[in-house]
Amino acid sequence: MIDFLNYAVLGILTGQLYAIVAMGFVVIYRASRVFNFAQGELIVLGGFIVWTFVMVFKLHPVIGALLSILAGALVGILIERLFFRRLVGRSVFAMVMVTIGMIILLRGVMLILWGAHERQFPAIFPLEPVIIGEIFIPSPLLASGFLSVVAALALHHFFNRSRAGLALSAVSEDHEVAQSMGISVRKSMALAWALGVSLSIVGAMTYLSGKTLTYNAAEIGFAALPIALLAGLESIRGLLLGGAIIGLIQGLTSAYIDPIFGGQASAIVPYLFMLGVLLIRPTGMFGWKIIERV
């Protein structure tokens, strides 16, 4: 029983970690209809930025973390400047492809700036676990649970209550109309990317804290994908639930199915579950419905 509880809690919290990464996708998508395939690389980049602040400049982890988040915002703005500015009003395809180009580009740039070898990633969160009764929780996971909730609520409010958020939604619906309403698509995109990259940094911190920094970290980008789809690409609060569900399922699978099955069932269960849900609700749990009207 206590084992089951442990598995459940850890699973759900891991799900929240993925949810943070997924938030990176969703914020950018929600605000510009661009699906960012480079999310994984952004996580790695985030890792390197944090690493540089904390290990090279020897800043206190917390300060380093905060600075990194700011730096992330700048990177986001830079990305918009360099790549997406000129693509306003062009096909979404092109924009999505640019993110794919970014995968290779960023990888190259990071290789040049930081080289390829493994690194110790600073312990942003204490290495000692938090122990509640008989439940052992690694503090990074606990942190990710907390951060994901905070971020989700804040962003949800931003998108649905604030005027700027409304403008972003307009942009994601139709660049041309947004412009004809006097909304600057460029500014909106810049904002979206700033948010996106900052979130990636948060993700990187919780993901890598106290572990090692390698380019394999990029994997998590696609690991987080099922959660984004399950929640629905426009929904931010949905990610919390999505993360919890996927995390739980994956955790329990790896605890109870994998050993019997003798394979990595836990790796594809999220995908299968997501597929199942999408077949019933084609736009996820909370995504915008496809409007059909003639």
Binding site: G89, R163, L166, A167, S169, A170, E173, D174, H175, E176, V177, A178, Q179, S180, M181, G182, I183, S184, V185, R186, W288, K289, I291, R293
Partner: protein, 263 residues
Amino acid sequence: MLRLNNVEVVYSDVVLSVRGVSLAVSRGQSVALLGANGAGKSTTLKAISGLIHGQYGKVASGSVEFEGKSLVGMAPDEVVASGVSHVMEGRRVLRHMTVDQNISVGGHRLASKGEMLRRKEWVYELVPQLKDLRSRVSGYLSGGEQQMLLISRSLMSEPKLMLIDEPSLGLAPQMVEAIYTLLSRCRAEGTAMLIVEQNASAVLQVADYGYVMEGGRIVLEGAGEELALNDDVREFYLGVDTSGERKSFREVKHYRRRKRWLG
């Protein structure tokens, strides 16, 4: 206030669809732009508001000036900022948003939230039909309802000049009246308008001045009432023959006299 000087517009470096159009709208004036399908009316409007870039179009030559500064190559949102709002053809509502949200987005440029609310109330009372639709998802509205929404939305951003593409399109007769009384109201409040319209009888009631476009050129222009009296306009846009009778659509002759204007 707005002055186009033989503007040429090209789509994807190939299709020349506006060939040297010159027109002017002065402060507080409302101007009608008539013309057959494919004449280049919408293109002209897009050229002014800068929205052609989105469709691989560009102003190849000529000048577009609004209050002295050139709009050519300006980003659409900057154009709006300088006081020109454009109601595009084709019912471009923000489909996933409610009517109310659409209206709010329309007021994006308004200074304060309070300002926005005041403006909203004003719009809703001008177009009472929208009030009941407030919370509807705009994508599901009927054609006409969407049309109303578009007009109202554009009213939110207190523009100095409104470019309106076929306001009466798909509206029931009394809605058409409603809309036009609304437009004349705005005109009275000093908003200048450039209205592209097929329903000539309606538009010529509010228009101080009018242009007729054909094949990308201006082929006829004159004060509103002058145009209304022009025989060709009467026949081809108002649909009354020389004797002043309305022609029956059932008796249309197969080989009618087709008017092609000499630009």
